[in-house]
Structure formats: C-alpha cells, structure tokens
C-alpha cells in the first residue's frame, strides 16, 4: 500500500489491499505477498490464508462487526477499517471496541477517505496507521496532524477524562 503514515513516518509498505465483494472469490495471491482480505473471506478460509508464507490481515467494512474477529485475533497482525466517506463515523466506534473491549493489540489501520484533518481523532480511538487518500497532502510526521493538545473525553489513548486529571481531590 502507498502513502501509509504511522509513528515511524510516511512510507509505502508491503501490504496489498484486496477490495473484493463478499460473494466474489479472491484473486490469485502470490505465496509471499502480504494481503489484507475482507472479513468474510478471512472467516471462511483463515486456516489456508494464515498458512501462507506472506502475512494475512483483514479489513472491516464501515458496518462490519468487530466482534466476529475476536476468535482469530492472535492470527491477525493488522486490522484495517474502511471509511467509505470521512463523514461515516462508524469506524471510530469499531476501533474503540477492538482496542478497549476486545483488547486487540496488533496494528489498526484506517483506510478509505482518510486525510490529515481526521488523523488525531482516529489516533485517539485506537488507530495507529493511516492510508492517506491519494491526492491529499501527505503529512510527513503524524505529530504534525494534531491540532489539539488536550481532550475532555476518555479515549483509548487517554483512558482518563480531563476532569479526572485536573480536578484536585480533597
């Protein structure tokens, strides 16, 4: 994939994203290729996919239920969540569920209509890598995409809401 940014900076990486409809079969995958497959394909065939030399990850559609991945978490180095439009906010809840409820510890990647205005909120709810939509300016440094220095709410990155941190006890 291209235009991936994470803590280490901006780069292209070895993952190949396979956007395949649930009914369609996967294309031929090279034995050593790292691929991100749809959830349905993963659940149907994770034994075979996981036994390849290349790594396999999944991507979850905006309306996908992260709970279905729980039993195979330890096989998944990366989960991607799709944002068909940046205004579709379901992925933010999916990310928090994956991180906070199901304790998923692998890489969590935001894909789709993702650009720098949204990176900070995505980071807070648990994403740690981002595929910047083509045509958008590429932030060189993830820190640069942080307009806010503080947040009121509890989040994956800051489990304590602001009021717990700044109101003096006693």
């Amino acid at each position: 994939m291209q235009n991936i940014i994470d803590q280490a900076g901006l780069r292209d990486d070895r993952w190949q994203l396979l956007r395949v409809e649930p009914g369609e079969t996967l294309p031929e995958i090279a034995e050593d290729q790292d691929v991100i497959v749809p959830v349905t394909h993963w659940l149907a065939d994770h034994a075979r996919l996981g036994a390849r030399q290349g790594r396999t990850a999944v991507w979850l559609a905006a309306d996908g239920d992260p709970a279905v991945l729980q039993s195979t978490f330890n096989l998944l180095p990366l989960i991607a969540i799709d944002f068909p439009s940046f205004t579709d906010g379901r992925g933010y809840s999916s990310a928090r569920l994956l991180r906070e409820r199901y304790s998923y510890a692998g890489e969590l990647r935001a894909i789709g209509d993702v650009w720098h205005d949204h990176l900070q909120a995505l980071w807070l709810v648990g994403f740690d890598s981002f595929e910047i939509k083509s045509g958008k300016p590429l932030p060189q440094d993830i820190q640069a995409a942080r307009p806010f220095s503080e947040h009121y709410q509890a989040s994956f990155r800051q489990p304590w809401p602001l009021f717990r941190r700044c109101i003096n006890h006693g």
């Binding site: 940046f86 205004t87 579709d88 906010g89 379901r90 933010y92 809840s93 999916s94 928090r96 409820r101 205005d117 900070q120 909120a121 807070l124 709810v125 300016p137 307009p147 806010f148 220095s149 503080e150 947040h151 009121y152 709410q153 509890a154 989040s155 489990p159 304590w160 809401p161 602001l162 009021f163 717990r164 700044c166 109101i167 006890h169 006693g170």
Partner: protein, 550 residues
C-alpha cells in the same frame, strides 16, 4: 457561571486555529466544496440564501454581560448590526463573509465563546431551562450538568460523524421548560429515594419530518453514571443509526425500528461494559462544576414602591404580570425582554439593544443574561424596587411589549427570507398576525397561546409543539401554509395535528381569527386555548375555518 480554565481556553483557541487553516485551504483550492462542507458545518457555518450564516453557541443559554457586548461588537464589525436568537438558545449572524469567519471565532474565543458543533452531524449545544437557578419549582440545578455534558460532547473523538445531528436537553424542575421530550435525549434531573441526584432519560423525541415525543428508557439513572450512559447511547446510535437516507437517520427512527424497549436493552448491554469506568463522576467532580453555579449574594429584599407603582400604572402592572416571573429568592424577579415586537423578526436583536441589556445586567443584577428557547431574553435577579426603572429603560429600547406567552409571542424560524431550505417565508406571516392582533385587551382575554411557525418541515420554529402551528409548504412553486392545532411543549408534550388543506399567505390572519372566534365562543370560564382544543377536538375549528360562507 462557568469560567474557562487554561485548558478550556486552549482547546477553543486550537479550534480557531484549526478552522482558520481549513478555511484557508478551502479558499485556495486545497479542500473541495464537498470536503469543506461537513468541516464548516461542524463550526456552525452555513451557506445561506444571501451570505454565509454563522451560528454561535450559547451553551445552555447563559451569557455574561461581556459576552453579550462581544456579540454586539461582532454584529457591528462583521454583520449588519444585528443578530438573531434561535429556538436552540444560539445566536445566528446572517450576513458574515467567509474569509472573516476565523477572525470572528478568534474574537469569540477572547470571551470564552465558540461555534463548535452548532451544526453538522454531531452532538449539538445542550439546552436547558432559561430559569435555571432561580425557578421556584427547581429540584436540581441543571447547569452544572449541562457544563459536564458540554465538555463531554466537545470534540468527542468517537462521535464527530454521527448519522445525523444530535440534541440533548436537560430539565431540573417540576415544569419542563426545556422541551426535553422533543430532543434526541431528554434528561430530567430528579432525586432518588435516598436523596441522590439522578436523571430520567427519554430518548428519540424530535420534530422535523417525523415529529415524535420521546420515550423514557431509563426512569432513574444515578447521576454519577451520566457520561458512561451517554457514551453507550451514542455508540449504539453511531453504529446502528441509518446512514442511507438522511431523512431516516435521526435516532428516533432507530428507536422506532428497534422499539424503545429493544433500544433500551441494547444500550444496557453496551453500558455494562462502560459502567463504573473512568468517566464515572464522583461527588468531588460534580461539586467542582456545581461551585461555578452557586447562588450569588442577594441583598436583603427591598420592594421600594413596587406595589404602589403597580397599583397606579396599568401598563406597568401588565408588563409585570406578563413579562416577569417570581423567583425562589423573595423580592427578586426574572424579567423577560420580549424580542417579539411587531415589525421586528422574532428573535432579532440589534447591537445597541445587546449593549443596553449588558448594561442593565450589570447595573441591576449579577451581570448575567439568559436566552429562552422561545427566542426572548431573560434578565434574572432583578430586585422588585428596580423593576419600574428597568421597565422604562426596556420600553425605550423596544423590549417591553407585554406579550410573553400570548398569541403574538410567536416562535418563528428565519424562513424564506434567509434560509435556503425554506419552502415559504415565515417572518412576514408572523408580522401579519402581530398586526392583526394588536389589541392588548383582546390578547389578554385570550390568555396563553403559543403560536409557532416554521418555513419548512425541518421545524426550526417548532411548529408541531405550538398550540397553533404554522408550516410553510411549497405548492407548485408557491408559498402555502398548513395550520396545526393542539401541540404543546413541557411535561405533557404533544404533537399538533394538521387541520386540513393549506392556505395562501394573505388568508392566514383570517384563519387564525376564525380559530380564535371559535375558542372565545366555546371556552369555559378560565379555560386556556390548549385545554379548549383538547376538550373540543379540532372539528369545530375546522368547520369554521373551511366553511364556504361565513
């Protein structure tokens, strides 16, 4: 009143910088129209018929005098010298220039104000009772809770892109003056068996295309759980609310589809995981917020010659009767400054008027003003001895029309004169009604009648909950108006019903007059208009209004 600390201020300043950057990128082609739209909406910026409109948040309707002065300054410098109060306790500026909006926001930030989430598909400004803290029937002061909710909802990372807008109202008194049952979430503060504060949680109320009164899904939520419970509700809505059709995207549609019981059960499941988590409020936290809203030091009550003035001067007496409310603090009243003067669009206020009100708030009270969702201004804490002086000042500024709660105290959206979504104009219709019914004696005799008008089914003028509602509709490109009867706000919130085919604009005052004739002929002694409509049903009104010869 809540005062920002250094972090609150920083967050608002950072939001200004972020929006300045987004606006510059839009103006230089870095963001497309489609990309910029949701971003600007989240900062209250609409593109209207004539110019962009900026909606400024007035959190839970409270303003300090210096904030009101800042709004006046903005009205002069960046608009045409006036602003407009909405039914959601916000202020709108109708004639701003897009490149100047970041500067306006920076000005607002200097007085702890902003436009964050005044529009867009996110949690909007929380609204409450305009008489909070002074109402005689108050059980729990809702304002600390509103501030807690304001902070929780501000830039919430999980809920910035909901299926649709989301409105929360909080009431803490016996009479619900915050229209909680027509909000996405309506919270009514109450006391539990042991005196513990909690909330009755109603969900899925709303007006718009599908007007509906909310359902109570939790009769008593102990207050410490407020934020974790809100997180649970919003998460269910964010994940499962419809996104395929914007007219079916409000939470009320989801609640209907799942049934209120089904929805409540789903929320409980989610809440089980969040309950008692880090966002649980301790007594200390609550006290921290409550300390901003403690009672000021009231001087000893002194009525001066108040009683004598009332006895001598009928006009003053009427104004006291209609436009002031007793408070729980003896000897003090809340004054309602009417923004419903005939000839002025309901809710509009000039910069000069804003400054006058700010001066009065400091001279006569504790420097604080409230915005009522009925689009009037409230000056709380006025000593009875000062009422006569204030009345004279208010008269000179055009604020003393003694019509609060009467037919001419019309709630009205900006409509076709400003709003690009409108089917019809609303301001001229309101004015025609005010002109027709200008006889105060007649209005007093009619008693309380709430007339609400919207220029389209988005219902910003809350027409469904007016005792008389007027809705602008489009009939082959012409402006027509439907009439509704029987709506009400408050504890017994009810949705009014359309009485029949719509009317041309010119005939609206006649139609209203006929409705009122039926009421006057058939009312029981002391019966209010709404009670008469409920007792008689719509039939006799329809007969008169649609009669061929009369």
């Amino acid at each position: 009143m809540y005062q920002y600390n250094e972090i609150d201020q920083r967050i608002v300043d950072e939001r200004v910088a972020q929006f300045r950057d987004q606006t510059e990128r839009f103006l230089t082609g870095g963001l497309s129209e489609d990309e910029f739209r949701p971003l600007r909406l989240m900062n209250g910026l609409y593109i209207q018929r004539h110019a962009p409109m900026l909606r400024v948040a007035i959190p839970y309707g409270m303003l300090a005098a210096r904030q009101l002065r800042k709004l006046a300054e903005i009205a002069r410098r960046f608009d045409r010298g006036y602003g407009h109060f909405t039914t959601r306790q916000n202020m709108q500026f109708n004639w701003v220039q897009l490149p100047q909006v970041p500067d306006i926001l920076a000005e607002l930030a200097t007085v702890q104000m902003h436009a964050i989430q005044t529009s867009g598909n996110c949690v909007r400004n929380t609204t409450t009772d305009a008489f909070a803290g002074v109402a005689a029937d108050e059980i729990v002061d809702p304002r600390p809770w509103c501030e807690i909710i304001r902070q929780w909802s501000t830039l919430h990372p999980e809920f910035a892109f909901l299926p649709r807008k989301f409105k929360i109202a909080v009431s803490g008194s016996i009479d619900d003056r915050a229209a909680t049952l027509v909000h996405d979430i309506g919270l009514t503060a109450c006391l539990g068996a042991t005196g513990e504060v909690g909330f009755q949680v109603a969900i899925g109320g709303g007006l718009g295309r599908t007007p509906i009164v909310g359902d109570v899904i939790k009769p008593f939520l102990p207050a410490r759980h407020l934020l974790t419970y809100l997180d649970a509700v919003l998460r269910i809505y964010n994940r499962f609310g419809r996104r395929d059709n914007k007219y079916k995207a409000r939470i009320k549609i989801l609640v209907k589809a799942m049934t209120p019981e089904g929805f409540a059960a789903k929320v409980e499941d989610e809440w089980l995981h969040l309950q008692d988590g880090p966002a649980t409020l301790s007594d200390e936290h609550v006290r921290h917020y409550a300390d901003f809203f403690t009672e000021p030091d009231y001087p000893a009550p002194d009525s001066g010659d108040f009683a004598a003035r009332r006895a001598d001067d009928l006009a003053f007496d009427r104004w006291v009767e209609r436009n002031t409310r007793p408070q729980r603090q003896t000897g003090f009243r809340s004054v309602i400054l009417s923004l419903k003067k005939t000839g002025v669009p309901p809710g509009d206020i000039t910069a000069e008027q804003m400054e006058a009100v700010a001066d009065w708030a400091e001279r006569f009270a504790f420097g604080e003003v409230r915005i009522a969702h009925e689009q009037n201004l409230i000056l709380p804490d006025i000593s009875e001895r000062d009422l006569h002086t204030l009345w004279q000042l208010a008269r000179a500024q055009g604020f003393a029309t003694p019509n609060i709660g009467l037919l001419t105290d019309i709630i009205c959206c900006p409509g076709g004169d400003f709003c690009s979504l409108a089917n019809a104009k609303s301001i001229p219709v309101a004015e025609a009604i005010q002109r027709r019914f200008d006889d105060l004696d007649y209005l007093y005799d009619l008693g309380s009648i709430q007339l609400n008008m919207s220029g389209c089914m988005n219902a910003c003028g809350h027409h469904h909950i007016g005792n008389i509602g007027i809705l602008g509709v489009d009939k082959n490109g012409e402006e027509w108006y439907q009439i509704l009867l029987g709506g009400s706000q408050g504890n017994q919130a009810a949705i009014g019903k359309v009485i029949g085919p719509s009317f041309a604009r010119e005939s609206i005052p006649d139609v209203i007059e006929k409705i009122l004739q039926v009421f006057v002929e058939r009312r029981l002694p002391d019966e209010a208009f709404l009670e008469a409509v409920q007792r008689l049903g719509a039939e006799p009104f329809k007969e008169r209004v649609y009669a061929k010869h009369h």
